[in-house]
């Protein structure tokens, strides 16, 4: 047993930072899993370059993973790290600005060579030139200690030994924060089962890191963060992309329909394709198409055939798919378009987050072409948002946009896994017989005879005798679906398509205003949920009132939204774009919604939003 002291903390933010090839994402993932297993609530923020291996040791090549864990509920990945692990000078330089004075920094001194320092413009070594004197710095020769710890592994090259340094770092941090390493050991055993020497080396490095913390005087104490009080249930940790894929599979299961994904690889959406491609056992069909347009074409073809057609992409892909989305609007067939938003325009920031595709989803097509839009708020929420998207698509026979983003896609949090029985029933009835008679009294099928309540047209799939029909992107006559260029008919059909989307049943917007006397409402959508909730908590803790509401349905809006907006003196709308929701709110409700925007490729910080709210409150007082 260690003779060192153990201190209790209520929350910690750790950032692992290193070169793209240093395995920081893996290290962060493993620390997250072990933390989740311990029962802390948590939130993560991976941050990595678009290049797979940018030049070693350079600033563009820095990859990081931030984890916020606590003994209470966690809303964001944390503004600033309490601990920075910097595997090289580039990682230190790129991240130091985010680290508050007094925080702990662990540096891998082996990498602080004059050559590596020069690569990032350090003329002297920041570890000993006073740059870091306001921090608790632990200089650790991570690489050479790891290599030394693996001295007995004769079958491994020096390079292979060096590669295990991330496991050494993980072992050290696991000791510092009293995390069990059994989960990581099991993970390594599975990953390296075929290479016993590599497996043994990684396990040895992990233990060496742990032991280093326990024995070296440099680390005076370790810390515990008690489990968070979370509602009873079975939990797992999920990223947004995983939760979204699972939501689609669960929806297809509850609809008893096949799930068919047509997709073209694009960051940050590709992981959904990967996840679904591995679920053939669940009857999932995935087709990797020749381009974005074919991806959605495949999905729409499958929908015509009676499947739940899905396409997954990011902003640039949506641009290419626009014409087919318009076709789906005109055909009135179910279709799911998943847009995992990233920084734009054009290629933009492929691995960074942004919310700037809202207006593209809303209006990015020719003609009057309304499409419902749903946005999940947290990584785990991607599951139920995906199920909701399928409900709307199949009930109303319409394409539906599911707007995730890079932060939700790669970030993770604990998810209380629902039981299958309590998931919504999404059963769909296909048309099975003629629904009208012709002038001669013969039964006929009218593909555009609508349901009076939902305005949805019948979904008649090929293979159903007697319902043979032809549909297309040319304007169709009301009811019969025959080609029609009649002016009044086009006016009617345009209004019917709009009315159908406007009439979609979405729940009322709930407002969180515990004091009940707030004059300011903060309204958000999508992944800004965590930062907004954390910021309002900060403001309320200082004794002031502020109301908060979050939109899941961007089209149509909840029916009570206008009333909610008008009942506050001031409405603040934080968005990771230049004010797209605010523009819609102003246009729809004539309210003076105030935008607060940032497009830095990163989620809002709690402090930034708390400042915005405070300033607004002061203006009113």
């Amino acid at each position: 047993m260690s003779s060192k002291t153990v201190q209790a903390l209520d929350r910690v933010v750790i950032r692992f930072a290193g070169d793209s090839g240093d395995g920081m994402q893996l290290t962060g993932d493993r620390f997250t899993s072990d933390t989740a297993a311990l029962g802390n609530d948590l939130s993560t923020l991976p941050n990595f370059p678009a290049e797979i291996r940018a030049p070693q040791g350079t600033l563009p090549g820095v990859s990081s993973f931030q984890l916020h864990f606590a003994d209470h509920d966690v809303l964001t990945p944390g503004d600033a790290p309490d601990v920075l692990v910097a595997m090289n000078p580039a990682a230190l330089k790129a991240n130091l600005g985010d680290v508050p004075r007094g925080a702990t920094i662990i540096v891998n001194t082996d990498e602080f060579t004059s050559r590596n320092l020069a690569k990032v413009g350090y003329t002297t070594n920041p570890v000993d030139d006073g740059t870091l004197e306001s921090f608790h710095v632990h200089p650790v020769a991570l690489t050479s200690i790891t290599v030394e710890a693996l001295a007995g592994f004769d079958g491994l090259t020096r390079k292979e030994k060096e590669r295990a340094k991330n496991m050494f770092a993980l072992g050290l941090l696991s000791w510092m924060y009293t995390r069990p390493t059994t989960g990581t050991e099991a993970f390594l055993t599975k990953k390296f089962g075929a290479r016993p020497d590599i497996l043994a080396a990684n396990l040895a490095a992990l233990r060496a890191g742990w032991n280093y913390g326990e024995t070296t005087e440099d680390f005076a104490s370790s810390f515990v963060v008690a489990p968070a009080k979370m509602p009873p249930g079975t939990y797992r940790n999920v990223t947004g992309n995983t939760a979204l894929a699972l939501g689609l599979v669960a929806a297809a299961h509850r609809a008893s329909l096949p799930l068919v994904l047509g997709s073209y690889p694009i960051t940050p959406a590709s992981d959904i394709l990967h996840a679904l491609a591995a679920l053939k056992r669940h009857g999932v069909t995935t087709l990797q198409a020749e381009d974005e347009i074919a991806g959605i074409g495949i999905a729409l073809g499958a929908s015509f055939g009676g499947a739940i057609g899905v396409t997954t992409t990011s902003g640039p892909g949506v641009a290419l798919k626009s014409e087919t989305i318009g076709l789906a609007v005109s055909l009135e067939l179910p279709l799911i378009i998943v847009d995992v938003q990233r920084g734009g325009p054009s290629t933009g920031l492929p691995t960074k987050t942004e919310q700037a595709d809202l207006l593209q989803a809303m209006f990015g097509r020719n003609g009057e072409s309304p499409v419902p839009i749903i946005a999940p708020r947290t990584p785990a929420d991607c599951f139920s948002a995906a199920m909701d998207a399928v409900r709307i698509a199949t009930t109303y026979r319409t394409p539906v946009f599911l707007l995730s983003d890079g932060y939700l896609a790669n970030g993770s949090e604990p998810w209380s896994v629902p039981s299958v029985e309590e998931l919504p029933d999404l059963h769909v009835a296909f048309a099975s017989e003629p629904n009208a008679t012709d002038p001669k009294g013969e039964p006929v099928f009218h593909p555009f005879l609508r349901d009076e309540e939902t305005l949805a047209r019948p979904w008649a799939v090929p293979g159903t005798p007697g319902l043979e029909h032809r549909i297309g992107g040319i304007e169709k006559a009301d009811v019969t679906g025959n080609i029609s260029y009649d002016p009044d008919n086009h006016d009617l059909m345009t209004r019917l398509r709009q009315a159908k989307i406007d009439g979609i049943s979405v729940p009322h917007l709930e407002v969180d205003d515990p004091a009940g006397d707030a004059r300011v409402l903060v309204l958000g959508w999508g992944s800004t949920y965590g930062p907004i909730a954390a910021a309002t908590r900060v403001v309320r803790n200082s004794g002031r009132s502020v109301a908060r509401a979050h939109l899941r349905h961007l089209n149509p809006f909840p029916a009570n939204l206008g009333d909610v907006l008008r009942s506050y003196d001031r409405v603040v709308v934080p968005e990771m774009n230049l004010g797209q929701l605010a523009m819609l709110l102003r246009a729809e409700f004539l309210v003076d919604a105030r935008s607060h925007t940032s497009v830095r490729g990163l989620p809002f910080s709690t402090v930034e939003l708390a400042d915005v709210i405070s300033t607004t409150l002061e203006e009113l007082s």
């Binding site: 899993s33 989740a36 297993a37 979370m230 509602p231 009873p232 249930g233 079975t234 939990y235 797992r236 699972l246 599979v249 669960a250 299961h253 096949p258 068919v260 047509g262 679920l279 053939k280 056992r281 669940h282 009857g283 999932v284 069909t285 087709l287 198409a289 020749e290 381009d291 347009i293 074919a294 074409g297 495949i298 999905a299 729409l300 073809g301 499958a302 929908s303 055939g305 057609g309 014409e323 087919t324 318009g326 076709l327 055909l331 896994v417 629902p418 299958v420 029985e421 090929p462 293979g463 005798p465 007697g466 319902l467 043979e468 029909h469 032809r470 549909i471 297309g472 992107g473 080609i483």
Partner: protein
């Protein structure tokens, strides 16, 4: 798990429900929709439509299991006139949409109707990828060498020098040969027919429908408004025989009437050329070429496709290539079926619950 035996050709219609033997034979009328056909008077599309409506009953398929998918253009109006399921989609994308439909529904006979602009210009990417994947569907490519619906611009099969509304000084755009393109993409069934030769067209359509995989049939089709007479030299009975090279499996490749016949020969592995029949008999000018569409190597079929010239001196018609290769949609379905079967059948609530929980869960009491 079902697997496709590569050695044995499997019908493209194997999984499509057929009418019972005792059922009354279907008629052309049953396949004719109630919609007014709106092509220009004299359009070649009428002839093709009549041929397809008359031929479809011969397949003996349940009408509800036939789907025609099209893109944009004059030819793409085709599905409206057939009383089957039909989807008139957007420009160039029909092969992609049909790929999704054919892969998710093996019980359907899927047809794509497209034109030279739709298939080879805006939709060129989808066409070549459908052909290389070998999705079980039949693509009818109506080639009139012009954009008709947009009123007369040159197309990717228009001749160099062709004067159109968008090329008043003559087109400088080098055209595609659709058959060469398809063979280059390693399509497993490639054929060419004339709209006016109904008997030959019907024979080819039947073989294409039976083919398991992507069948591409290029159909020369006259546009009487914007490119009238483009194929006149092939329709003119006095010139026809000297120009049309009828490809017949197992037979020598010849052109010209009895007495004036030329035979295709090849010296070594070099270029092919037509020489008079008598000269060919000596064997000095090279080996006489026998047509074999089932050759795995597409080289000879490609060479035959190159006999074609813009002047239409010699135009091969018939089936260039007809080989058996596992289809994309069969392979995709096999993988899903195998995964489901290995796991002991379709996933129920218990299996979904297991998937949602994943491998790494913890419980909060």
């Amino acid at each position: 798990m079902t697997t496709i035996d590569v050695g044995m050709p499997v019908s493209g219609l194997r999984s499509v429900p057929h009418l019972p033997q005792e059922a009354a034979k279907q008629t052309k009328r049953e396949f004719t929709s109630d919609q007014e056909v709106r092509w220009c008077p004299g359009c070649g599309d009428y002839v093709i439509l009549a041929a397809v409506q008359a031929f479809l009953p011969e397949l003996g398929l349940k009408r509800e299991n036939i789907v025609f998918v099209s893109g944009i253009g004059c030819s793409s109006r085709f599905p409206y006139y057939l009383d089957t399921y039909g989807l008139h989609s957007i420009h160039g994308r029909a092969p992609a949409i049909a790929t999704g439909l054919a892969t998710s529904r093996e019980d359907l006979s899927v047809w794509v109707v497209t034109g030279d602009g739709d298939a080879l210009s805006i939709g060129g990417n989808h066409l070549i990828h459908a052909l290389r994947r070998n999705v079980n569907m039949t693509i009818l490519l109506f080639n009139n060498q012009i954009y008709g619906l947009t009123k007369g611009q040159y197309s990717p099969t228009s001749r160099v020098g062709q004067v159109t509304k968008s090329t008043p000084a003559g087109s400088v755009d080098y055209p595609f040969n659709p058959v060469s393109l398809a063979l280059g993409a390693e399509a497993t069934f490639v054929a060419r027919a004339m709209e006016s030769d109904r008997a030959e067209l019907t024979t080819i359509l039947k073989a294409a429908a039976e083919h398991r995989g992507t069948a591409l049939v290029e159909i020369y089709q006259n546009c009487p408004i914007f490119n009238d007479g483009a194929f006149e030299v092939l329709k003119d009975r006095s010139q026809q025989e000297a120009r049309i090279v009828r490809l017949r499996s197992g037979e020598h490749v010849t052109v010209g009437a009895e007495g004036d016949r030329k035979v295709l020969v090849r010296k070594g592995s070099g270029v092919m050329k037509f020489i008079p029949e008598a000269e060919a008999a000596t064997g000095e000018s090279g080996a006489v070429v026998a047509h074999d569409p089932t050759l795995d190597d597409p080289s000879q079929a490609f060479q035959l496709s190159r006999l074609d010239t813009p002047e239409m001196t010699h135009v091969p018609m018939g089936i260039f290539r007809q080989v058996s290769r596992p289809t994309y949609d069969d392979l995709v379905r096999d993988q899903v079926r195998a995964a489901v079967d290995t796991a002991g059948g379709p996933a129920g609530d218990a299996e979904l619950g297991e998937l949602l929980r994943g491998r790494d869960t913890w419980t909060v009491e």
